[in-house]
């Protein structure tokens, strides 16, 4: 696996899928280097843009086709994603990829459960394929607020051994949260690993359930990132290192995938992540 590279290639396709856009972008070299769980940072707004910061998206798929392509699943949220999802095939897209650390894979075949919230499912289909290629049994749990905000239920059927769907409003699958389905799946399959991507609350819940069932959770977090390449320190979160010390680590280069039981979920509340008082270098009275 070589390092990340910056490329500028044409948008190949732009498809609407439920509440999302699935974009395919020509990006030579990325396919060889990338693994599921990594992400891509895309410049937005074109040459006269007032928006300096790249937008990050999980790699949904990569292929070596036509010199190399990557796919992302994008929710049009603010100005940057609106610009991106309005692009037409042929428009040039400037990407830096692959970034971050991928999901760690089991050494031996075993059962795994993959949990995705909303567009958080985007990296999981590729992960499922990789796991199944290694002989793992894969079940997927996809959840969202409503049916249109689920991504890839059909695709899940193709790549997973079983698929479970939940929606908050019951518009598809079981009414409720993914974490309500998870215990049954882990128990029944004897899953050793739970892989999750989605909102922070969901990741905390998946970690809790997995840990209670003696499975290891690997979660892909989504922190605001200014650079995506490890140079700005905006994207940190408190993670307990193997030596037991909690440090504020960068989710872009040390993550976005972390072992769920090492993330200090207790630091999160009300949309803010505080620095735990026991963290390395935590502010003392008078500190900056």
């Amino acid at each position: 696996m070589s390092g990340p590279a910056q490329t500028r290639g044409p948008l190949v396709t732009n498809e609407v899928v439920g509440a999302y856009h699935r974009l395919t972008i020509a990006a030579p070299g990325v396919a060889d280097a990338a693994a599921p769980g990594q992400f891509v940072a895309v410049a937005v707004g074109g040459p006269t843009s007032a928006q300096l910061l790249r937008r990050c998206f999980s790699l949904h798929a990569v292929s070596a086709e036509d010199g190399g392509r990557l796919a992302v699943v994008v929710a049009a949220k603010g100005a940057g994603t609106q610009w991106l999802t309005a692009l037409r095939p042929g428009d040039l897209v400037d990407v830096v990829a692959p970034l971050g650390r991928p999901f760690p894979l089991p050494d031996e075949p075993c059962a795994c459960v993959l949990v995705g919230g909303g567009y958080g499912s985007a990296p999981l289909f590729w992960l499922a394929e990789v796991l199944r290629a290694r002989g793992c049994r894969v079940e997927m749990i996809l959840g969202a607020g409503s049916a249109d905000r689920l991504y890839g239920v059909e695709e899940a059927g193709r790549v997973a051994d079983a698929v479970h769907v939940t929606t908050d409003d019951g518009s598809l699958g079981r009414r409720g949260w993914v974490s309500e389905v998870l215990p049954e799946v882990i128990e029944r399959t004897g899953a050793r690993y739970a892989y999750a991507c989605g909102p922070m609350g969901m990741l905390a819940a998946v970690t809790e359930v997995a840990t209670a069932h003696e499975a290891t959770a690997y979660v892909a977090v989504e922190e605001s990132m200014a650079c995506g390449i490890g140079v700005c320190m905006t994207c940190v979160l408190p993670v307990r290192r193997d030596d037991g010390v909690t440090a504020m680590v960068r989710s872009c280069v040390d993550g976005p995938v972390f072992r769920g039981d090492q993330v200090r979920w207790d630091a999160y509340a009300d949309g803010v992540c505080r620095v735990p008082a026991d963290a390395l270098g935590a502010p003392r009275p008078g500190g900056h």
Partner: protein, 319 residues
Amino acid sequence: MADLTTRLGSVTLPNPILTASGCAANGRELHHFVDLTGLGAFVTKTVMADPRAGRPTPRMAETPSGMLNSIGLQGPGIAAFLDHDLTWLASVGARVIVSIAGNTAAEFATVARALAAHPAFGCVVGVEINISCPNVANRGLVFACDAVSSREVITLVTAELPPQTPTFAKLTPDVTDIVAIADAALDAGARGLTLINTLLGIVIDTDRMRPQLAGVTGGLSGPAIRPVAVRAIWQVYAAMLEDRLPTVPILGVGGVRTGRDALELLAAGAAAVQVGTATFNDPSAPGRVRDELDAALDERGFTSVGEVVGLAHERKVRL
């Protein structure tokens, strides 16, 4: 191919394009995108005496043509920095400007002392004294907002460093009279200035109806602030031309994204230019800006960087 070399006091750099402190970490990550040895110098993230966890998150907000950050000087502390980061920078052959800070003037001195005593000090071509940070002893008022505090820090730091070390006091633009602060810093022994640090700003998240940064205020950077950086450099360089300040090299920083922008800061009086926030948009920005500057000099018929430093003062229209 113009002659890109630039003199910073006792040191000559092969070209005038540097990274900006805090916008390039301590080099390893950026080295994937830009050969650090090809830059004029690499400016490290400000380091303090002890490890610091920094501020809670969110730590950033995007703003029109800029961003706010509130990192809170997260860092490993000087000891780990020296053994781990500076040693690595030395090993790849980078020329390094080390940015240092402290909660108190004494802490600045401690950091400078450790730096000067370390075996990797050989790769250091300058020390940037980040006095644009809060002074615990003075109700958290930023050192560089006050001439007395600025003077104290600079005096203590320069005393710890070998006599010829180029030292750059990094000033904040958030003052009524930046020339007065520059004067205090130079009078206390700084051999150069870095202009400018970020502007204090706030963004309100209008969904939550509260400040978007957990720490409320942040530093505004990026192209949005370039006219303020150019103005600060201009004012200080003009004061040097008028002998109101001793003549020392200025490291210009603020909103540089292209070779044209770098040329703008040089023309205003900077002897070298740092590329900060633009790196987040384009990880290869520092190298690209250097190449674009080279081309921009050629296009305009300049044969060296020296010719353009401060040129806009000479060419100013007399009304």
